[in-house]
Symmetry: C2
Subunit: 224 residues, 2 copies
DNA sequence: GGAATAGTGTCTTTGAGACATTATATC
DNA sequence: GATATAATGTCTCAAAGACACTATTCC
């Protein structure tokens, strides 16, 4: 039996949620889109270490964000090479650099998760299910944890933070109510210097991630 | 590398949450308490099927409830027999019968999860962590899903449903507010016949699980 | 000034929780 | 009758959402 790792790396590009995909350079499913990942190099390799190694090798991403266990996928027949059990990891990151294809991967891109979930893009193995479960995990975590700041740069405006929620939840939020709500969550965000940034209109205050990882009150999603 | 399954089976006994434990009948950790589980019999065995087989073999439980993937545990060194990766499954069940010890298990019992989490009971391997993550998963799922009905018999009173929430969340709830709240969640519970049951005081209406798996409005836990 | 975004204030509706009250059973 | 639990109603407070309004920048 073989143990593999697969990685669901989510980021924000423009207004929508994207996932890191590679074009497989080797069989099986050569030429198909897939999540980055691969077999453990040897039986003593730590699974988490293998995940980070694959991310560097296949997509040239060295500044790897925090990886969190997502699930395991072990149905017989999910891989034509025989019995393969995959450990899937999830990570969420601010605008990462363009990925670079590496060994075993002919190409690497950020692709909108919507294209994956709606099956406009077809993924090898059972990777579409992994993406779906990763996105759902992120949605839930946005409510009660400070995960949203992990999508942002070190400092960010409240409007940028709002865009994270809108992209991941795929909803529209009222900026004014969002402003109050996010400020009310104790320790979620803290002011970051007197500096300001500008794009269009009045400059906004900058904030950085606060000390609290658990939000109270939570950022509750309404009826969906 | 070896693949194992471990099972976190939760049930309600009296007023508190219990977990199914066995006394290991073989090395390593012979005589120690542990979760039911074991190695896949052969490389083509489905993981879920192996989980159900172990449950029957080690604890004599045939009416196995719905098993849901909880996580994977693969740190090198977690098992003295070498590189073992465990797939943990979670299940939640109404009053199950007393377990019966089987092969590989000298004994099997229901034990209060509090005794496990507080380390009054010591578990082999990293099984305490599995129990902790299973309980936390159940706590979260109680809020937004109809999981609570899985702890009950086919028909139940609202008071019995409340006891589920109180046991899993380890809180006291106001019966009157709980009554209204649970009724307001669309499709959570539906009346089950005109029958009534009695223990002490006015007989209560009977309900059964409704069609909705996702609760709206959710049964929000307050600040903790 | 006009356009655009940032930030504040206020009103209404809704749900959560405290708790009084009535209903129906056993003893 | 007393007691216990079921079920309903009412009140208060707080959070959510709608939205008017002011503030500060660029053009």
């Amino acid at each position: 039996m073989l143990l593999a790792v697969d990685l669901v790396i989510l980021t924000l590009r423009g207004p929508s949620l994207h996932v890191l995909l590679i074009e497989r350079g080797v069989e099986p499913h050569q030429g198909a889109l897939a999540l980055p990942g691969g077999f453990l190099r040897d039986l003593d390799e730590d699974i988490l270490a293998a995940a980070q190694r694959e991310l560097t090798e296949e997509a040239g991403l060295s500044e790897v964000p925090h990886l969190e266990p997502l699930g395991f996928y072990g149905e017989p027949g999910r891989d034509p090479r025989g019995r393969v059990v995959s450990a899937a990891y999830l990570a969420v990151a601010p605008r990462l650099p363009e990925p670079v294809a590496g060994t075993d991967a002919a190409e690497a891109w950020w692709r909108p998760v919507d294209d994956v979930l709606s099956a406009r893009l077809h993924l090898a193995f059972d990777h579409r299910r992994m993406v779906a479960e990763g996105v759902e995990r992120a949605r839930v975590k946005l409510e009660h944890s400070a995960l949203a700041t992990a999508f942002c740069r070190e400092t960010f405006t409240i409007s940028e933070l709002q865009q994270v929620y809108e992209a991941v939840w795929d909803v529209r939020l009222d900026p004014r109510n969002f402003y109050r709500k996010v400020q009310k969550a104790e320790g979620f965000i803290v002011p970051a210097g007197p500096m300001r940034r500008t794009e269009n209109g009045r400059p906004a205050r900058l904030f950085k991630a606060g000390p609290m990882q658990t939000l109270y009150p939570p950022m509750a999603r309404s009826a969906q």
